[in-house]
Amino acid sequence: MSLLLGLFLKLSAFSLIAFGGINALLPSLLNLSVYQEHWVDLQTFADYFAIAQAAPGPNFMTVTLIGWHIGGVLGALLATFAIAWPSSILVYYVQRLILGMSNEGKKKAIQYAAAALAIGLVLSSAWQIALQINHSYAAYGLTLLTICLTVFTRWHPLYLIALGAALGMMGLI
């Protein structure tokens, strides 16, 4: 039970600092669950990350899966709730505050600041996660290919995930 409580408290704290959303949070989540608390091993984390990418729905499913690993259905629900409730309550009040703000400049300043912070966090997250879960040159190549295709074409991400799955199944990655 104390395991679930620890999970709940730690994830709740993460929720309030995850500028840039769950994507920005992934390295901290990896660090916490693999190296500090040893909830899952690195391979399992990478696999859960992959499952969360391939499954429909919001991208915080990596968190749900780690919760499931620790405590079954209860763990999954608890982990999801933990990552969601602090920021949900925050945004509920912040949106009223900001929409009610008469000073247009201040509103913009906050928006610009948060955007830059989020970009930095998301980029470093991608970098750190790549270092942890890509084990071959082929995997790095596929990551780079994905970046090029999404930046320069309008391909739906699902096609890219299917491509990655197919290449992986053939044993190429």
């Binding site: 729905g57 830059a116 989020a118 966090l121 990551t143 990655g164 990655i173």
Partner: protein, 161 residues
């Protein structure tokens, strides 16, 4: 539920174009706020739109509606994973998907980065954030704490230039 590869485009199509419960400008304004608040962006969006339509109850319903289906699916996948994770083809499949997944995250960041070139000083914030997080391996909380005063200062300048 049909939010493969992100729920956002789908949410926009349904709420703005089909059901017309929000105008396009309203949607963009709300989205802007949800992206600056920490936490799962799409869930923040659900809370904002839900509360706009039906107050706190609406916010709760929207968040629950968004998460419950995908949670069930993902747990089903987790059970399958437990049974088949020792198969070599499954391991390869997941490796391929996670390599693509990392790329998708990186390209989200790169696409957002394009807007920053209109006020290049702001790139300093991005660079310092990346260095603090990736090179010095500071925790998320520390990075946010260290970088946010500078980000706010530059944000203020950018807004008033």
């Amino acid at each position: 539920m049909s939010g493969f590869g992100g729920v956002l485009p789908w949410a926009r199509r349904t709420l703005v174009e089909q059901d017309k419960v929000l105008s396009s400008e309203e949607f963009s304004a709300i989205l802007g706020i949800c992206q600056i608040v920490p936490g799962p962006n799409i869930l923040n969006l659900a809370v904002c739109i839900g509360s706009r339509l039906c107050g706190a109850k609406g916010a709760f319903a929207a968040a629950l509606g968004l998460t419950i289906g995908p949670i069930c699916i993902v747990m089903l996948l987790a059970v399958l994973y437990q049974h088949y994770s020792n198969l070599e083809s499954v391991q390869g499949l997941l490796r391929g998907i996670s390599a693509v997944g990392v790329g998708l995250i990186a390209s989200t960041g790169i696409k957002m980065l394009r807007d920053e070139f209109r006020y290049p000083v702001m790139l300093l914030v991005v660079v310092i954030t990346v260095i603090a997080a990736s090179y010095f391996h500071l925790g998320l909380g520390w990075v946010v704490l260290i970088v946010s005063p500078m980000a706010l200062f530059l944000g203020f300048k950018k807004a008033h230039k």
